[in-house]
């Protein structure tokens, strides 16, 4: 089978990433857009584009009927879900199959199985993959969950079975706060996933988040593509990812890779996926525990592409079309070091609140070893209703030190003005001695927050630059109102010179 035309059921940078991979594979691509995105850059990156509904995600990017109809109307033969939105929605995968569309991802039942964290834990346990000690309670009342927490011991971690990305998750420090936190977790889980089922895990002290990229094909082939260290996260949202992890010895790396392959095999996995582990301790005695499986392409996949030299999205297209994996385990190597920084429209000084508004000035850095994945252009107005990711900057170099230096130089040359971003915050993380030493765990940001938020008053040079900048300067050509619609009309041709 060959894919001829792929509908990309997503927006922003990942839609552009997928459109590029299609183009290089001589597959046509179809963008979808909500009313809020009619003029968004991802729409222009594809060969054709189709509206799928109003701005609200539930009525456009999350609407299974709208997306499937868009694929039908445009003659697509396959759908790439990207990450987020419908990417881990088993019903969507099923709806695609029912409509005769190739879903570029794992089979629907695999998504379903791994989407239930409780079921996934049981599956992994059966496959011999270590899981975090914990309790699953049939009694889902507050009292039932509190009993499970007591059995695990405080502090306990209450998690949503349908969860992901830290939503519906709370650390319960003591019995006194248990009820309130369990209710908050359930409320968030119900709102986010329509499923308030909770379970309880032991809190691993000072863990690292280390995940393994895996890939399976329809012919029984499964490989891993080494690890990504994602310990720099805030409220379970990853901020900086890198590979290799400074914490893994060769032995632990091998054991985690083997475990990830075993996990993917047990799940009957196909296409690109990620096994997330918590890592406890260091050196050869470090222990790792299965956390969850992400049954889709990961935001941070460029880190793996940089150190292994493979193209994961191209491989997704090949494998979805029925081809065997383009690699053997032995042909995959990890070389050099890569660091990805996620650049968000958010205000670290104000609880990292997402920001909306125009990118009055936006200039991407460039250079050897620098890769930018972005879904914006100068003048683009960050919408209020979608993920506030502006861009991903991936710096690859020979060593971790060189990759950090490269990321720092690139971020210092990545001016984004008009709305607040986390770029200054990212630079403070990169410059932090503990980060530079590779001695971080998932509590790094919280533990160092004061230091990471410390700002200095504007230096003389900034004040002088501000004083010299005139409002009337034509420095913001694309921030004019007309930039919202990048197209002109050819109707008034007659009024101008030819």
């Amino acid at each position: 089978m060959t894919l001829r035309r792929v509908l990309i059921a997503n927006r922003g940078e990942i839609a552009i990433r997928i459109a590029r991979a299609c183009r290089e594979s001589t597959i046509e691509s179809v963008a979808v857009y909500s009313d809020a995105d009619a003029e968004a850059p991802h729409v222009r990156a594809a060969d054709l584009a189709v509206r799928v509904g109003p701005a609200a995600p539930s009525e456009s990017y999350l609407s299974i009927p709208s997306i499937v109809e868009a694929a039908r109307a445009t003659g697509a033969d396959a759908v790439h879900p990207g990450y987020g939105f419908l990417s881990e929605n088993a019903s969507f995968a099923r709806a695609c199959e029912a409509a005769g569309l190739v879903f570029i991802g794992p089979p629907a039942d695999v998504i379903e199985r791994m989407g239930s964290k409780i079921a996934a834990r049981a599956l992994m346990q059966g496959a011999g993959v270590p899981i975090v000690p914990g309790e699953t309670s049939v009694d889902q009342s507050d009292a039932g969950i509190i009993r499970a927490a007591q059995a695990v011991g405080y502090p306990a971690l209450v998690k949503a079975s349908a969860g992901g990305g830290g939503k519906g998750m709370r650390v319960v420090p003591d019995p006194g706060s248990a009820r309130e936190l369990i209710q908050a977790a359930r409320r968030e889980a119900e709102a986010a996933f329509g499923d308030g089922t909770l379970y309880v895990e032991r809190v691993i002290e000072g863990p690292r988040h280390v995940e393994i990229q895996v890939f399976g094909d329809a012919h029984g082939g499964v490989v891993h593509l080494f690890e990504r260290e994602c310990s720099i996260q805030r409220r379970h949202q990853k901020v900086i990812e890198e590979s290799p992890s400074a914490a893994l010895t060769a032995g632990v790396r091998q054991a985690m890779g083997d475990a990830a392959v075993a996990a993917a095999r047990a799940a009957g996995y196909r296409n690109a996926g990620t096994i997330e582990f918590l890592l406890e301790g260091a050196g050869d005695t470090a222990r790792f525990y299965f956390l969850e499986m992400n049954t889709r392409l990961q935001v941070e996949h460029p880190v793996t592409e940089a150190v292994t030299g493979v193209d994961l999205v191209r491989a997704q297209l090949l494998v979805a079309a029925g081809a065997p994996l383009p690699w053997t385990q032995d042909s995959i190597s990890q070389r050099g070091h890569a660091i990805e920084c996620r650049i968000y429209a958010e205000d670290p000084q104000n609880g990292f609140l997402p920001q909306a508004g125009p990118l009055l000035l936006y200039r991407e850095p460039q250079g050897p070893g620098i890769r930018i994945d972005s879904g914006v252009v100068e003048g683009y107005r960050m919408p209020v209703i979608y993920d506030p990711l502006i861009a991903k900057l991936t710096a690859a170099a020979e060593s971790r030190d060189a990759a950090i230096a490269r990321a720092q130089a690139a971020l210092r040359g990545f001016p984004v003005l008009g709305i607040r971003t986390n770029i200054p915050f990212l630079l403070r993380v990169l410059a932090h001695p503990a980060f530079q030493a590779g001695a971080v765990d998932t509590g790094f940001i919280d533990a160092n927050l004061d230091q990471l938020l410390r700002r200095s008053p504007a230096p003389l040079e900034a004040l002088a630059a501000a004083a010299a900048t005139r409002a009337a300067l034509p420095t913001v050509p694309s921030a004019s109102p007309s930039a919202a619609d990048p197209w002109t009309s050819i109707a008034d041709w007659g009024r101008g010179a030819p």
């Binding site: 939503k167 908050a184 409320r187 968030e188 709102a191 986010a192 205000d347 000084q349 104000n350 609880g351 609140l353 997402p354 920001q355 909306a356 009055l360 000035l361 200039r363 209020v384 209703i385 979608y386 993920d387 720092q408 971020l411 210092r412 990545f414 001016p415 984004v416 003005l417 008009g418 607040r420 971003t421 770029i423 200054p424 630079l427 700002r455 200095s456 008053p457 504007a458 230096p459 003389l460 040079e461 900034a462 004040l463 002088a464 630059a465 501000a466 004083a467 010299a468 900048t469 005139r470 409002a471 300067l473 034509p474 420095t475 913001v476 921030a479």
Partner: protein, 168 residues
């Protein structure tokens, strides 16, 4: 950038600009010989690029990027961002932004309100929990102070920029 660029000796036309950033005020003098002084400091050479790049200092300049939005100047300097309010002489200052008022950055619904009028709060205290994009977002006190007004209640749909809480 040209190292032999002179600072000029002719009598310079000058313009005074008041700058406000991080609670501090600075007086800057912009001269038409291409120099700027801030406070009592010596003049520094400033070149403003048409594309937003600004070079400050001579012969080894620092590179900044700036953009103007109304009376606000956004300045990018070595990865730090500064939002600096400017006011030229002879022009009235607009009413200052409501300092101490907290607002939602985006359309959101109010999940919980923990602030009460008259209560003393410490920097970092959670005052309101919003929900947007299916995530709970805490609104925290930016500084120690006292709550003087609460403009929202659970269940409200709030729009960006509309004050939720005021603190003095």
């Amino acid at each position: 950038m040209d190292v032999d660029r002179g600072l000029g000796t002719r009598s310079a036309m000058t313009r005074t600009v008041m700058l406000r950033e991080s609670q501090a005020e600075h007086k800057a003098i912009v001269r038409d010989d291409g120099t700027v002084s801030v406070g009592d400091g010596a003049p520094v050479a400033v070149r403003v690029g048409r594309d937003g790049e600004v070079r400050v200092g001579d012969p080894l300049p620092r590179v900044a990027w700036t953009v103007a939005a109304g009376e606000m100047r956004w300045v990018y300097l070595d990865g730090e961002v500064f939002e600096i309010e400017v006011q030229t002489d002879g022009r009235k200052r607009r009413a200052a932004a409501t300092h101490g008022s907290l607002s939602a950055p985006m359309p959101a619904s109010v999940v919980r309100v923990d602030a009460q009028v008259g209560t003393a709060v410490r920097r970092g205290d959670t005052l309101v929990i919003l929900e947007a994009m299916k995530m709970e977002l805490p609104v925290r006190a930016p500084a120690d102070g006292t709550v003087t007004a609460v403009h929202c209640k659970p269940g409200d749909l709030v729009q960006p920029g509309v004050p939720l809480i005021e603190i003095v």
